[in-house]
Amino acid sequence: MTLSILYFGMIAEATGQPLETWHSLDAMTVGDLKNDLLEKYPVLRDRKFQIAINQQIADESFPIPPLAQVALLPPFAGG
């Protein structure tokens, strides 16, 4: 399946890009994707972030639907 992944703030700084397209042969949970991302970007191990799937915060057991928009969100700083 194909996902678009958005990176924000200090996470975009760590990955060096604001978005990428991600291909996977298998169905994945949020936890699976997180492991793959930490493998590709080891620097993310030191950063706090949450993952949103289609604009909703999701926990690690959440199965990612096809064509989902994934976002890695560092700590919020509004206000």
């Binding site: 703030g9 969100l73 560092p74 919020f76 700083a77 509004g78 206000g79």
Partner: protein, 147 residues
């Protein structure tokens, strides 16, 4: 409920003049007895790397607009409000300038106190807005994190 989603983000600082115009627009609503306004202003905090000269705000806009809408609906459901407006800056807001403007109006003051505090806490905790604090004059920066 179903209030229409409203535009929250503005480019750059929010001016005192904009606040005045928002207040003036509510003077024809004569059921209002109390307004309560919160303004977030950028502090010149001293950090490792230098003094904060401004914050560069970014956001995940599609998600942020949804969350702002949910927060607004929750406030209208919980408190007796006549009006409720939220504005937040994107881009650079220099030290001393305003980045957040929350404005609630009600027939009675009690609802405005409770609603305003609820809104500010919810916005800080739940909306995907990110802030890069610019430090000193040599390009240093730090990422802001709400507590």
């Amino acid at each position: 409920m179903g209030h229409k989603p409203k535009k929250v983000f503005v480019e750059g600082p929010i001016s005192p003049q904009f606040v005045a115009e928002s207040i003036a627009k509510h003077q024809s609503k004569t059921s209002i007895g109390a307004h309560n306004i919160f303004l977030g202003q950028i502090r010149a905090d001293a950090k490792v790397g230098g003094v904060v000269t401004g914050i560069e705000y970014s956001a995940y806009p599609e998600m942020a607009e949804q969350i702002f809408h949910q927060i607004r609906e929750a406030a209208f459901a919980q408190y007796e409000l006549t009006c409720l407006h939220i504005y937040h800056s994107l881009g650079l807001v220099p030290t001393g300038e305003i980045s957040l403007f929350v404005f609630v109006s009600s027939p009675h003051r009690r609802a405005t106190f409770e609603a305003l505090e609820f809104l500010v806490e919810e916005i800080k905790a739940k909306v995907p807005i990110f802030g890069k604090e610019l430090l000193g004059n040599e390009g240093d920066f730090a990422w802001k994190e709400n507590t």
